[in-house]
């Protein structure tokens, strides 16, 4: 018993998913399905690769060609798939720890190479599955199991890191604004080179409780009230943007896509 979208793109025998009540990941996973539906892609030509952590469960629930890989290495596996089969639409779902800590090196090099993969980061600002340890995106001063007195590190801005490393499309959506996030994922999939969409999720169980953020509803409301469209953010000072979520398309640039360049080398020797 489920909607048409869920029927079409999910392995219903594995639902309901294991994510906690109110978790933003469920909403974001639906956004991925909706984006694929809107683009009219053949789901047998879509590959979904995930790493380890709460987010990685998506590869088990979604009914594409799926691969649940090792921690932080989703992009490495995805690179192999895309190089071998450039005609496939390769989507990678990672968590914040997965993408920017354990897999940080894979992230910057996938971006640098501009390989035609769509990376989607379910960022809940914490390691949820293992019990709430702080991650590279936990805001400064916030608490985690391993930061009981507050985090003393500055957080990564994942889209900025990816852009600096060479990603040709970067964007940020939220679990609250499902329509915007779906549109950004669609754009990311349509984009030829390496695209990354950071999706601000919510973790009411660990991040929320540790930092007294209230219920899941409170956390979605916070996202709603603190999201600033990228176009508006351009005219704001860093002080005004402190603690806000800049959402929408953040950057776009041109560079030849990796598998196309590689094919040109192959063609050269086949003449």
């Amino acid at each position: 018993m489920a909607s048409k979208l869920i029927d079409k793109y999910f392995r219903e025998a594995h639902l309901p998913h294991i994510w906690c009540p109110g978790c933003g990941h469920g909403v974001l996973m639906r956004d991925v399905a909706q984006a694929v539906e809107n683009l009219g892609l053949d789901k047998d030509k879509v590959v979904l690769v995930s790493g380890i952590g709460c987010s990685s469960r998506a590869a088990g629930y979604m009914d594409f060609n799926t691969m649940h890989t090792t921690h932080g290495r989703a992009l490495a596996f995805a690179t192999g798939i895309k190089m071998a089969h450039p005609e496939l639409e390769v989507i990678v779902i990672m968590g914040d720890g997965d993408a920017s800590a354990i897999g940080g090196n894979h992230l910057i090099h996938a971006a640098r190479r501009n390989i035609g993969i769509t990376a989607i980061v379910f960022n809940n600002d914490i390691y949820g599955m293992t019990g709430g340890q702080y991650s590279p995106t936990t805001p400064y001063g916030e608490k985690g199991t391993t930061a009981p007195y507050g985090n003393i590190d500055r957080p990564f801005d994942i889209p900025k890191v990816a852009e600096a490393a060479g990603a040709t499309y970067t964007a940020r959506g939220t679990a609250y604004d499902a329509r915007l996030t779906t549109k950004l994922i669609e754009e990311g999939i349509r984009h030829k080179g390496f695209s990354i969409i950071e999706c601000a999720s919510i973790c009411p169980t660990y991040y929320g409780r540790k930092n007294k953020k209230g219920s899941a509803v409170d956390m979605y409301t916070w996202q709603k009230e603190n999201s600033i469209p990228a176009a508006k953010a351009k005219d704001m000072t860093p002080e005004e943007l402190e603690g806000k979520l800049v959402v929408g398309e953040l950057s776009r640039s041109e560079f030849p896509e990796l598998t196309e360049q590689y094919q040109k080398i192959i063609d050269k020797f086949q003449k």
């Binding site: 048409k4 869920i6 309901p16 109110g22 909403v27 499902a178």
Partner: protein
Amino acid sequence: MAAKKQLVINTKWCKGCGVCAAFCPRGVLALKGEKIQAVQPESCIRCGLCELRCPDYAIYLVEEEDA
């Protein structure tokens, strides 16, 4: 004429987070115990925001003939 849409709740998948009820523009939904219920179904405008926001795919709209 377009078929009328009907609201469906799958209580087996509902985890009782209350997100759909909180963001429903017409106050149609409320938690009863640990599950969501349409307490004012006549007010529903079939906007689909509940379906968009439910993290568990437990609430959605269907075309009436498919229901």
